[in-house]
């Protein structure tokens, strides 16, 4: 029998809960004793910003609050992401498990390899582009971000099911307002989605199945669906309350 990873599939949840669950999983990684792949989405729509970004600088906060879009700071670096039509994955393993390379850039390549497999099984010519992107036909279809904490690795990332660049830019600030229209055009040309590439809507469940298989292929393991442990659920609730839902955290920079 091959080794097992834990697979957790969640219904859409709010941004603070999503980030809190990812953190609860990495903080529990040692006790859980096997790597976890979690697949999820966001309701309401949300923008997450990278750990080092300034919320005020990146996001039209008023517009987001008008439209009920959640705003959350991630524990991982990288850029602002508008989470709308998307499957998000997170992957957690301990460093001592040696399941991914110690070197951070190499481990991005390994974990993204699983995601690349998923796109390939849709028949798409996907490839990993360091530091943290996956592209199809020269266009970005997945962004990924990693942190190392609690002697463990957490990487989360997106698979774009659909993308609405105009809507995204109505919520994000651009460094230079004078070139907003040009930026929308440029980004539209550089970003794609499963819907665009396949000319059909891809349901979350179908993408989730492909990601499951993508991880199984990459790591030569079996992903077995399980719920979160009780301790993880209560830890996530605590982290949501004491960190991700707080102004102090989200407006830290």
């Amino acid at each position: 029998m091959s080794e097992q990873f834990r697979l957790i599939i969640h219904d859409a949840q709010d941004a603070f809960t999503n980030m809190a669950i990812d953190e609860a999983i990495i903080r529990s990684a040692k006790e859980i004793q096997k790597p976890t792949v979690r697949l999820y989405s966001w309701k309401p729509e949300a923008i997450s910003i990278g750990y080092f970004q300034s919320l005020k600088q990146e996001v039209d906060i008023e517009k987001c609050s008008e439209l009920g879009v959640d705003l959350v700071r991630r524990t991982t670096g990288g850029g602002a992401v508008f989470h709308d039509e998307e499957l998000t994955y997170s992957f957690v393993c301990t460093e001592e498990s040696n399941i991914v390379p110690k070197a951070i850039l190499d481990s991005y390549a390994r974990i993204c390899g699983a995601v690349v497999n998923s796109f390939k099984s849709f028949g798409l010519d996907a490839s990993f582009v360091p530091i943290n992107d996956i592209i199809v036909n020269g266009k970005k279809i997945s962004g990924n971000a990693q942190t190392r904490r609690y002697n463990s690795v957490l990487q989360h990332g997106t698979l774009l099911l659909g993308v609405d660049v105009e809507k995204m830019f109505s919520l994000l600030k651009v460094p230079d307002e004078k070139i907003r229209d040009k930026m929308i055009k440029v980004v539209s040309e550089r970003v794609t989605s499963l819907e665009k590439e396949l000319s059909r809507k891809v349901p979350f469940a179908e993408a989730a199945q492909k990601v499951k298989e993508g991880f199984e292929e990459e790591f030569k393991v079996e992903l077995v669906e399980e719920p979160l442990a009780k301790e993880e659920i209560s830890l996530a609730e605590q982290i949501r309350k004491e960190k991700f839902s707080l102004r102090d955290w989200n407006y830290m920079r």
Binding site: F52, Q53, S54, G79, A80, N132
Partner: protein
């Protein structure tokens, strides 16, 4: 003098500085952007290492390198050269905010 400056790191990420400069010296600096620094909290050590430092590119790079070494920091999409260059550019552009 307070400065805000964006700097695209050559084949890297976007660096967004908020800088407070007094004469030839850095009072304080906030280094924002879509780069990656591990461990993440070490960004404070990098920012602190530049406090009170003269606006000399080599000197700033040296201070950053020391902080990077001391805290076992790894940077992706940004480096000490880019941060120092962005500071120099920010001061030269001198756009008040």
């Amino acid at each position: 003098m307070k400065l805000n400056y964006d700097y695209k790191v050559p084949s890297g990420k976007l660096l967004r500085l908020a800088l407070d400069v007094e004469g030839e010296t850095i009072n304080s600096i906030q280094i924002c952007g879509d780069f990656f620094i591990h461990p993440e909290d070490s960004i404070c050590a990098l920012e602190d290492s530049l406090k009170g430092v003269r606006l000399d590119k080599e000197l700033m790079k040296e201070k950053l390198s020391e902080a990077i070494k001391e805290n076992n920091v790894e940077l992706f999409g940004v480096d000490e050269e880019a941060i120092a260059q962005a500071i120099i550019n920010a001061v030269n552009s001198g756009s008040d905010e």
